[in-house]
Amino acid sequence: MANDLSGGFTNPSQDAARAFRQIMDAMARPGRIVSLSGLTPPEPLSRAQANIALTLFDHTTKISLKAHYDNEAVKTWLSFHTGTNFTSPELADFIICDHDGIGAINALKQGSNEYPDQSATVIVGYPKLDHGQCQLSGPGIKDKVMVSITEISPFRNGQAMFPLGVDFMLTCDDKLMGLPRTTKMEMC
């Protein structure tokens, strides 16, 4: 239903607090898969993507929806719940897309040398989040962790040299895995 605005947080303050703890945990410990449930967003937005949106978006953020995410139902729902602004990918703070639609990373905001934090975060729909053949290491990871990323290039091609760069949040239904710019990736 195109004008169905239900399915948001029932207790916005505490639900957002719990969702943020999970999101922060995921970003601080890349490879750890956390669960974000409780919302019923319009298709094709996943529950995890919706939780991230309602926790982090507001009238000061610029969002870009790519491919099939760019539809009226999603826009109306996000506008109603967050009051956020929509823009093009190169100007966006947050980009919602699928793993095969990330496109050229160097077309996104990667921050400046003085302010590398002024960079985009990409909230990616991923087909499967589990253990797998891609080895992650770096800050937040004790030794190494194996995850089900099948191709590295969408996340690293065109990624600027640290400290610049783009951070990724990989989502699949209610699952979320963080992939910040510091994480080293290797296929095994």
Partner: protein, 295 residues
């Protein structure tokens, strides 16, 4: 009864702004993220930055501990603990190992932290280069260019004046080989605990409006020289209440004749050791149960 406060005091828009900043600070370990710090119902210098970070991270299920220079029972710690009891209705504790979130002023607890804990530091001056270069535009550029020679000159001048690196607190560290960071005024005794720590470490500077972070399992190196390697510093004594010889000690004046005693700065650590039967030299009971060494 109506709840007069939003959960954890801050309004939702402020929390979202801090939360976005925290995620970027985690993605760039040691880098200072500017944020629009709010006025809090306490003066600057009393942990307004730490309180805002804690507010943004807190969930109703949290059990929080607040320490001020290691102590759970000083004014700052007690009032911040009460603040969150009142505004977030969360449980509080003094036990390091039972806390899910610890807000600290100037110490890292003696007890090892674990993966389920978050340590929030209150920071007065987040910029390690500030006393060497007062202009923010310049220090930004120095961080951007990894231009940290000035910091080494400062440590070298310590050696030239004192024969050793005399900086004993807020001792500069390098995080993951990139950003030089101020660990807040913790004693340099605590610096090694920051490296490869299983807990997430968050830093909030309210007046200076900066957030920064050390994700878990990060390499944090205290700056030094090959011929003057970093050393931990602690009073050459043991705790006179619990006899610990490996904890950070405070020196306390106990009368007007200049007598002093050394006690653990971490009150929970000291009390837990005493409960386990460890006794220091001022805390021993004689056979009748009287404190034989009481002055």
């Amino acid at each position: 009864m109506s709840n007069d406060y939003n959960f954890a005091y801050l309004d939702e828009q402020t929390k979202r702004m801090i939360r976005r900043g925290l995620l970027k600070s985690i993605a760039i370990p040691g880098y200072q993220v500017p944020f629009a710090s709010r006025e809090m119902p306490m003066p600057y210098g009393w942990g307004t930055g730490g309180v805002q970070v804690t507010s943004a991270c807190l969930v109703p299920e949290d059990k929080i501990k607040v320490i001020d220079q290691g102590a759970d029972d000083t004014t700052n710690a007690v009032s911040i603990r009460q603040f969150f009891e009142k505004t977030a209705k969360v449980e509080t504790t003094t036990h390091t190992e039972k806390a899910s979130l610890i807000q600290t002023r100037h110490r890292i607890p003696e007890h090892d932290l674990d993966e389920n804990q978050i340590l929030v530091y209150q920071v007065p001056i987040p910029e390690p280069l500030r006393f060497l270069e007062p202009r923010e535009s310049e220090t930004r550029k120095m961080h951007a260019l990894t231009e940290y020679g000035l910091m080494h000159v400062k440590l070298y001048e310590d050696i030239a004046h004192h024969g050793h690196i005399a900086t004993s607190y807020a001792y500069p560290v390098k995080v993951e080989g990139r950003y030089v960071m101020d660990p807040s005024p913790i004693p340099k005794f605590d610096n090694p605990k920051m490296s490869m720590c299983p807990a997430l470490q968050l830093f909030g500077a309210g007046r200076e409006q900066r957030l920064y972070a050390i994700p878990p399992y990060c390499e944090v190196i205290s700056l030094d020289f090959e011929d003057h390697p970093f050393t931990r510093l602690k009073a050459n004594a043991e705790c006179e209440l619990c006899s610990a010889n490996n904890s950070y000690l405070d020196e306390v004046i106990i009368d007007d004749e200049g007598n002093r005693m050394f006690v653990c700065s971490d009150t929970h650590y000291c009390e837990a050791r005493q409960a386990d039967g460890h006794r220091g030299k001022r805390n021993r009971l004689d056979q009748e149960g009287y404190d034989a060494t009481h002055i």
